[in-house]
Symmetry: C3
Subunit: 270 residues, 3 copies
């Protein structure tokens, strides 16, 4: 199943409009190119609606935000909705400021989001916002149990209608009903800035290239990114460190074959 998702992404070579932070924008662009998709980065209010109209997917990454960029995200998101382009939301550090919390709520209220990808803390913040503080009780400083993490993801999926990808010590992909747990990945990926941002960009490409297979495409992206982290890790040799690892992960995506993904993907219905 996953092999076909990857193949279809290489065939369709979708143009992904990334509104993203300046810290990891270069890596997101090269990761998309590695996957077979193409990136366009643009975030100004005066042009994002036109840019997004010429693309096939929109990725809203909340890192290094500003009020003007959030206005532009809203505008681009609504333009993407009108055109039926999938919108991916990466709520980077959403719990870190009122600016981000309010912007995320406004985006979720006014833009139909296809996929949300975040860590447990970010998903928690979104659930609290979406549900007006009802029924959520997760200590953000603690890693939740797998059960609690999945419950969080399911709550957000129900509240928003989006597929939710929760990544961390455990990874879950759920549309609120079906749920997959993904076991791919490598802890050293945390020592490379932006691997989460790259995954969100890849999700944008995969879901855009595979219409009607939202859950499977998101699952394939999570497996592919984690698998590349594993492949890249096996390539490390002294004195390599996190900078070499960063390059090797993108290299692995460039060389990832459908067969490698099909055989290397580790997930289970949960």
């Amino acid at each position: 199943m996953l092999a076909e998702i990857l193949n279809q992404n290489r065939r369709a070579s979708p143009l992904v409009h990334c509104m993203t932070n300046y810290v990891t924008a270069n890596d997101c662009a090269n990761l998309l190119l590695a996957s077979g998709a193409s990136p366009i980065m643009a975030d100004d209010l005066d042009e994002v609606a036109e840019i997004t109209a010429a693309c096939h997917a929109l990725v809203l990454n909340m890192g290094t935000p500003s009020p003007r960029k959030f206005e532009a995200m809203l505008k681009a998101g609504q333009a993407a909705n009108k055109l039926g382009h999938p919108v991916v939301l990466d709520p980077v550090g959403v719990g870190g400021s009122q600016l981000r919390k309010q912007a995320a709520q406004r985006l979720l209220q006014n833009v139909r989001v296809a996929v949300i990808r975040g860590n447990a803390s970010e998903i928690t913040t979104l659930v609290q916002g979406s549900m007006a503080h009802r029924g959520v009780d997760v200590d953000e400083a603690e890693q939740p149990s797998p059960q609690a993490a999945l419950e969080l993801a399911r709550q957000l999926a129900h509240a928003t209608g989006a597929v939710v990808v929760l990544t961390g010590a455990v990874d879950f992909v759920t549309d609120g009903r079906a749920a997959y747990r993904v076991m791919n990945g490598q802890t050293m990926m945390r020592a490379v800035t932006g691997t989460g941002c790259q995954l969100s960009a890849l999700i944008g490409a995969y879901v855009s290239a595979n219409p009607g297979k939202l859950l499977e495409a998101a699952l394939a992206a999570v497996c592919a990114m984690g698998l590349c982290g594993e492949i890249a890790h096996s390539r490390l040799a002294p004195p390599d460190g996190n900078a070499s690892y960063r390059n090797y992960i993108i290299d692995a995506m460039y060389n990832l074959t459908p067969d490698q993904l099909e055989k290397g993907a580790k997930y289970e219905i949960y």
Copy 2:
């Protein structure tokens, strides 16, 4: 001829003021350093005139734009003109939004540009803007024939007085009269974000370090960048991908000798 252009860049070590996008700014900086030049990135309206005055060349790259940055480009461009510094324009994605189209036209009407570097689609958009939609009939989605591409470049050179560098499946460098076709380069360069931006930055350095040799300096930069793409490609070994390739291209520029460039440059008068 080209060897001396490269040598003179290393001797003069020009300071290049880059007003550029945040996606590839780091690569542009490291490519300039690799070439022997030095970069300064600054794009705010309140300081660009001073910054450009302390430099030797100005590169205006239209990626990730904003209205304020375009105002700053206009101001910096006019300051550079007064001081006689060469100005290079890289009209990234100019056809993608009205903001970019109008900004490009305004820049070309108010700033004397020494070199414009873009792909066929970008050059087409500029020609259409410059010529009030007369006489141009190129489908942007199609790769033009070599003849059509050169004709485009010549039209823009005539309309603006700039040397035009059109890059893509074929590369041309022309001042509207003389024209060179460059055969250096490697298709895998398209899998690395920002190789075009890097070339534009390098053109800024080369033309600044070689006054009175605008056409030759632009030609040398195109050959040098393409040759580095070839050298870097020959260094690739499994499991390298586009991230390693990105590093190898800049490494190749760091190690490029005058003799390598002289012997490796592949171009013809066209």
Copy 3:
């Protein structure tokens, strides 16, 4: 002594709020991760006070500035002061524009800065600003003698109360009384954009993780960064260039052991 500074940084794993330029933000993030600390980049006026409150140190890097970002730096700096978080100032290119000069003076007048790191030209500009042009006479185009460089650093330390790290052909670390000269480093580091920015970020982590040891922590960071430049340089083999070197420096920080730092640090009381 230095081994313990490094160890303590890995144990404490401080969260460093970087308000920094978009050219080298990715390298600063990966260098901090390599050191064992964690980065957060955020620079908007509407959120920086909250972001900084959740961190342990604040690094103000003046590259690619704007008036709004400087307002945000002032706000974040004052928030950090209230919370007792160390603030590091990297006055990138401060002599290059009135915008930067005035912002630096305003920051130094309104924010208590723990460490300032700059080159001789930048430190000269700050001393001139702080001392209303009294008693400073250094040609910015010339490399000052070691004695003149140290005198500059001492003057700025006295004027501001900060530990001053002056880097260049010679490196000094001084609180105005005690002074260390550091002999670590490699000239090729100048061919990699942002090694200075990375050092400033590392200083933020080290001083935050080692309260009460401001001078020693800054010294340890300067030695560690220079030593990584040496280790990375010894790893270079043809056809490596500055792009590979960039990766190797960060890799070296990832692998740097307390013992390596203790034995490899080259400094003297001056």
